[in-house]
Structures are given as C-alpha cells and as structure tokens.
C-alpha cells in the first residue's frame, strides 16, 4: 500500500495544506495541482516578459520549506507547477532545495508547432463550437497538449525526488505514483481507471474532505484545520480515501460522492490520455472513521487523440459596481442601470454584451432566486464586453457620475473606475496522439 496526498487543488489554494500533509502523518507521495485552463495563458504572458518566469511561483519556496523532511522520509513530489517553463521552475526548486533530485517532463507545449499542425491538415476544431482553429490563429497565446500519467511515471523512475510537469492532466499526478509503484501496464484499463478516479477524488484538495460540502456543512468538524485528502492505494486498483487523524474536516461516502460528481460530463466515458474511466462502476463503502473504501472500477482503452488546451485573446471587459441603500434600494439600482444603458446608447458605443446583476437580490441565481422585499441595500453590478477597447474604457467612466447625477443614496464608489481587462478565452481541440512526443530531463 502507498499513501498519495494532494496538497493543492489549484494555484492559490491554502499554502499550509501541503506542509500539514507532510508534518501531521505518514505519506509517500505529495501531489500538487496548480493549473486551471486559463492559468497557462497567464504564465505564457509572464514568460514573454521574463524568460525565467512562466511557472507556478509558489512551488519552489514550498519545496524549500519542506526539503529536509522530504529527503529524510523519502517523500516524492509530483506537480504540474512547470506551466510553460518547467526547466526554469526546476532550476528555482534546486536553488531553494539544493539536496533534491529534480526531473521535468517535456512535450506538452505545442505553441511553436501549431502552424506545422495546420499545414498537415489538422483543423483542430473547437470541441464546443466546431469552428476551425485558423479562425483565431493570430490571437493565440498558448497551446498545450494534456499529458497523461506514463511520462510522469518515467520521470519517477529516474529516482527523482521532485517531478515537474507542464500541462499534465490533474488526475495523472495521482495515477503516475501508482503506475510507478505497482508497475501497471499501458493496457491495464481497469487499474488505470481506478487510479484516474482516485485522482479525480483528490484533485480539488479539501473538496472531498468536507470543504464546499453542502450536506450537514454546519457540523463538519474543525474546518479551520481541515485535513487535505490522502489515497491509500493497493496494487489491485482498490483504494481508501482518508485524511490524517486529528485534522479537521470529514471523509464519508457523502463527501466523496459530492466530489465524484464535480465537473463531470458523461460518467461512463471520463476520457483521459491514459484510459476511459467508467464512473458508474464505482463502489463506495464507509470503512471506518473518515475512511471510504473504493472498489469495482472498470475502464476502457485510451483514446487515439490527445486534447489540446489553447488560450487566445477574446476582446475586453470591465465590470463596475455601486451600492444603493434603503429605502427602495432595488428600484433605485434598477433606475441607475437603465440610465447607464441610455447614456451608453446615446454615446453610440457598441458591445457584444451588457449584463446586469443585483447583489442581494438575484446575482447568483437570476430568475430562480427567492423573492426579496425592500432589502436594506442592493449592489448594482454592470458588466460589458466587446472587441472595441475604447468603448469598454468609456463605459468605466459612466458609473461614478451617477452618485451625483442619478437616483439618491448611491455609495461604495471609493475604488474609483473599474479596470479594463483583456479577455483570455479558451479553446479545446483534439490531435492524434502520435504527434505528441514526451521526454524526461533530470535537471542539475
């Protein structure tokens, strides 16, 4: 049995979580997931400004902080912290933790190969809209193929203490430890599916240990010291989800079910580079305090394609707010919204969308929100987006004047004009997997 812990569900997750996982009990592998879909484009921009950046900068100081314990106890780290510059990330790790052996996985970054792919006739149509990639070619910021668990396992086989990947799948980080330890083969579909589902359960950190848990949330113990998840994996593919004893939070079949359904599409076909996992085969049972046993998982062959994650510029947007107080807070906020729209129209400004929400009334749930009568205050929130930056910029000048020239009782304008932000949009496409070749490099 090996213990695989996840200490980071996204870049920006709790800094103390990985430290507590190492300090509060036994683990063999620490996996850290840093990359959301839009993160790659942010990192690409950072690399363009400084060739030594483009990775998750929280990662090297974390490894520096943990290096002594990682070395003494033989804990291996697997992280997709490399972003678009895994070698720079590895160098920073070595600087922060000189005694550790660090390996990186190459091959996911296809930004420089897109024209080659297009020339070969790959249209790389968007999986949502069906449009061809050539329609946005000049606006592309980053392009990466999702890498599976086997290249990461190959990196572990070098004896590395820390494995750094770029755009690996979130689930591959967990599965890689099992492939490496148990010697699973590329066509062990059921076992690969089991490791993939273990990865899915822990990839969002505390979301399977009582965090963001709707059921009985008021009574989940000691959330201030919530334990992050640990998989106790067996060579046959069965595993137990748990957390360190003494930590806060809760692990039971309810908390695990909520996370199993998180960001799920077709449960019979959960497609990864390693296999296709069947979520309808999962058998869960409570097997002790804060322990859930998982078994019975089946999987099918990996797909002939890999998914590309492509980011591109999609215009500009700005979102501004004002607060209206009682009495008649909602009618005042609605009047202000009408006035802003009239003024934008008279200025002749064109937007792709203007969208208004009223915080305290309907912002989260729109028409489904329960009715409110005469609330003590309402926040007006108006957003615009479009490809004309000047129009979006002009919009940001239209809210604050309402404090003096609109309905009475407006406040909370102290932040000034809202910022104009460039939209980084996301494109996903499929590419034959033989076009992607990965390699492992030990950095010294």
């Amino acid at each position: 049995m090996i213990r695989i812990a996840n200490g980071q569900g996204f870049w920006g997750d709790w800094l103390e979580a990985p430290v507590r996982l190492v300090e509060q009990g036994p683990i063999d592998y620490l996996v850290l997931d840093y990359l959301a879909e839009v993160t790659m484009s942010i990192l690409q921009k950072q690399k363009q400004e400084d060739p030594n950046l483009g990775y998750a900068r929280d990662f090297p100081p974390l490894i520096g902080r943990l290096s002594k314990q990682l070395k003494e106890r033989g804990i291996k780290v697997i992280a997709n912290a490399g972003g678009v510059n895994p070698v720079a990330c590895a160098r920073a790790v070595i600087k922060a933790a000189p005694g550790l052996k660090v390996a990186v996985v190459h091959g996911d970054d296809v930004f420089d190969r897109l024209d080659d792919f297009l020339a070969k006739g790959y249209e790389m149509r968007d999986m949502d809209t069906g449009e061809v990639l050539s329609s946005i070619r000049s606006r592309i910021l980053s392009a990466n193929a999702y890498i599976g668990a086997f290249p990461l396992a190959e990196a572990l086989a070098t004896g590395a203490d820390v494995v750094i990947a770029g755009r690996s799948t979130d689930t591959a980080l967990t599965l890689a430890a099992m492939v490496h330890e148990f010697g699973w083969k590329a066509d062990d579909w059921d076992k690969l599916a089991a490791g993939t589902i273990a990865g899915h359960i822990i990839e969002c950190g505390a979301q399977c240990t009582g965090g963001n848990c709707q059921l009985d949330w008021e009574n989940i113990p000691d959330m201030a010291d919530i334990g992050y998840p640990i998989i106790e994996a067996e060579p046959d593919g069965s595993f137990t989800v748990t957390k360190h004893s003494g930590s806060g939070g809760r692990v039971n079949t309810d908390t695990v079910k909520e996370q199993l359904l998180y960001e799920l599409g077709d449960p019979r076909h959960y497609i990864t580079p390693d296999c296709v996992a069947d979520f309808t085969s999962i058998q869960l049972s409570d097997s002790g305090p804060d322990r859930v046993h998982v078994s019975g998982i089946r999987g099918g062959p990996r797909p002939p394609t890999l998914k590309l994650s492509i980011s591109f510029t999609g215009g500009w947007k700005a979102i501004g707010t004002l607060v209206y107080s009682w009495p008649q807070a909602l009618p005042k906020a609605k009047a202000a919204d009408r006035i802003v729209r009239q003024r934008l129209q008279k200025l002749g400004l064109q937007f792709e969308e203007i969208y208004t929400e009223f915080f305290g009334v309907n912002a989260c749930h729109g028409p489904v929100a329960p009715p409110v009568t005469d609330p003590p205050e309402v926040q007006l929130r108006i957003g615009v987006r479009g490809h004309d930056r000047k129009a979006v910029d002009r919009f940001t000048r239209e809210l604050i004047p309402l404090v003096l020239n609109g309905p009475p009782g407006a406040t909370a304008f102290g932040e000034g004009r809202p910022p104009v932000r460039e939209i980084v949009a996301y494109w996903s496409a499929l590419l034959p997997r033989e076009e992607i070749t990965t390699s492992v490099e030990v950095i010294s």
Partner: protein, 104 residues
C-alpha cells in the same frame, strides 16, 4: 405531496466551458427512482429559465444514487468570457434545491 428537492437530495455544481454540471445525490437509495422520475432534463431546463440557453443532458449513476445534469450554454460564455458573478456555476446546485418535486 410537493416538496423542494432539498428534502431528498444534496448537490454539487461546477463548470465545463460554457456548460455547468450539477450532481444531484439522493440521501437514501430508495429516493433514487424519485430523482429519475421528477428531475427530467425538460423540467430542469424550464426551472432555470433564461439562465440556461442550451439543452440539458441527464446521466444516471445508480451506483451512487445520483444523477448528473449537464446544462449547455449556462454560463454566459463561461470562464473568463462571462460577465456573470457566478461564471463557473458554483452556486447552481444550491439554486436547484428549491425546485418543487412530487414525493410519493
């Protein structure tokens, strides 16, 4: 007898591009058939009204006593494009708890 969904199930929701998914989990295995009967894609789409522009797909997970509702065109463009405060559908699962269903 009409009751809100919250009387028999809990939910979790999130995003997949411009789609949002809601996992609906029955508290008791006995209530799974009620979920199947009452939580049809058509009713869920009608419940959300203008928030969901596209179709609603429903997938069954009898092993978990759960259904997965995949709602297309539900996030105003999704991710970074959307102007909505809940651009990732994180609160849609909670919204669905108010849906009235017929209990046996």
């Amino acid at each position: 007898m009409k009751k809100p969904l919250s009387s028999i199930a809990h939910t979790r929701s999130g995003d997949k591009g411009d789609s949002s998914n809601i996992g609906v989990i029955a508290f008791r295995a006995d209530d799974y058939p009620v979920l199947l009967r009452e939580m049809t894609p058509e009713r869920v789409k009608a419940f959300f009204g203008e928030l969901v522009k596209g179709e609603v797909e429903r997938f069954e997970l009898p092993n978990l006593g759960a259904i997965n509702l995949l709602m297309h065109g539900a996030l105003g463009g999704g991710g970074t494009v959307s102007l909505r405060v809940d651009a990732q559908g994180k609160t849609y699962g909670a919204a669905l708890l108010r849906m009235e269903i017929e209990l046996d």
